[in-house]
Symmetry: C2
Subunit: 237 residues, 2 copies
Amino acid sequence: MKAEVVHTPALLPLYDLKDKVVVVIDILRATTTMCVAFNTGVNKILPVSQPEECLMFKEFDFIIAAERNAVKVPGFDMGNSPFEYENPFLNGKNIAFTTTNGTKAIKLAKAMNPHSILIGAFLNLDALCQKIQVSGKDLVLLCSGWKDKYNLEDTLFAGAVLDRLKDSCEMPDDAALSALLLFEQHQNDLEALVRKSSHANRFKLLHLQTDDVSFCLQQNIYSVVPEMDGEYLVCKK
Amino acid sequence: MKAEVVHTPALLPLYDLKDKVVVVIDILRATTTMCVAFNTGVNKILPVSQPEECLMFKEFDFIIAAERNAVKVPGFDMGNSPFEYENPFLNGKNIAFTTTNGTKAIKLAKAMNPHSILIGAFLNLDALCQKIQVSGKDLVLLCSGWKDKYNLEDTLFAGAVLDRLKDSCEMPDDAALSALLLFEQHQNDLEALVRKSSHANRFKLLHLQTDDVSFCLQQNIYSVVPEMDGEYLVCKK
């Protein structure tokens, strides 16, 4: 099995996703939040590019959720904090969801016809790795980054996946090697490092609930692995 | 002073270079080779995009040098191994030079009108850092990468520069923080790490002179800092 890391969606055109498993990563916070939603019992999530498009799904009995620049967009039911998605009210509901980076990465990956698209977060790390291994396919770890720039927390998570799979995969690219080195070096002080990241600083400047950072770094508290099925994210049994 | 790291030229459109000092980095091997050439006494180097364009300068009494995919292009005077550029015959000569990644990065940076463009390599690390500090300008460390993908050795060098400047600069981006962490962790085993990189493997597969790797990682053996002056790289006194 071959494993590659794409640091930001802006670099996606350099990669071939055909017949590969793509894991979309947006630790702070879209892919973390999606795992929480499915663990709560959400039926399906429709990733949407723009808030305007997302709004239209209100009429079709979707919960509508939108985040831009780390805050909830006014007029929407929900934002992008994982805590919001623990609400049992969401059980059985459908959500239309748009975020600054994560849903964009999903849409771009989908347009490149991969074998499958899985959603990765520290919350479901081991379950995700198991699913990747069962697939037997080559792997692309797609970091959502921040507005097409590199970010630390998504790269650390890519490194965490590679750390678990390294005995069974080759890593031809330096981006994968570098992500693995970063994780190996910092696996015991992940939170301290992520708190130095630009996105954690963005939270601080916005006076956002910084418990989100601790929450998003919890490992293996869920076994759900959301994946794309047609236009929707679902959790296959 | 603010310092940013651009992992590959493909990400350059996300950055503003205006009034900034840009350091172009292609450790294996273009920017290393350029430092060797100026240390040997070359008069000026014209970075050129394509071999076809480079060939034309033969008539204007330039030495013509071209590398693609790590090997010398047939029909040219020289390739891209630093050892070739230690030849005293080059003293006072002008070179037209095109390489897979380094000269492309220089041309792209130039098109974005920065304050200045400097050439960085481990060979001239301290002299380069001194020149950056004297400038007092914000800094962009531009890694040439490999065909627009991330590479390890250029990122390690960006980290080495930041390690020297960290007390006098802020690093708002995660790309800079990550490069610094990578260098700090591996500064005592740089060569072992770079030998694991994809480009060192490429050299091995091509049966190229792998002493190039050791040569390119020597620190501070030169005080030359090539920089762009109009269309040419020169060494200002």
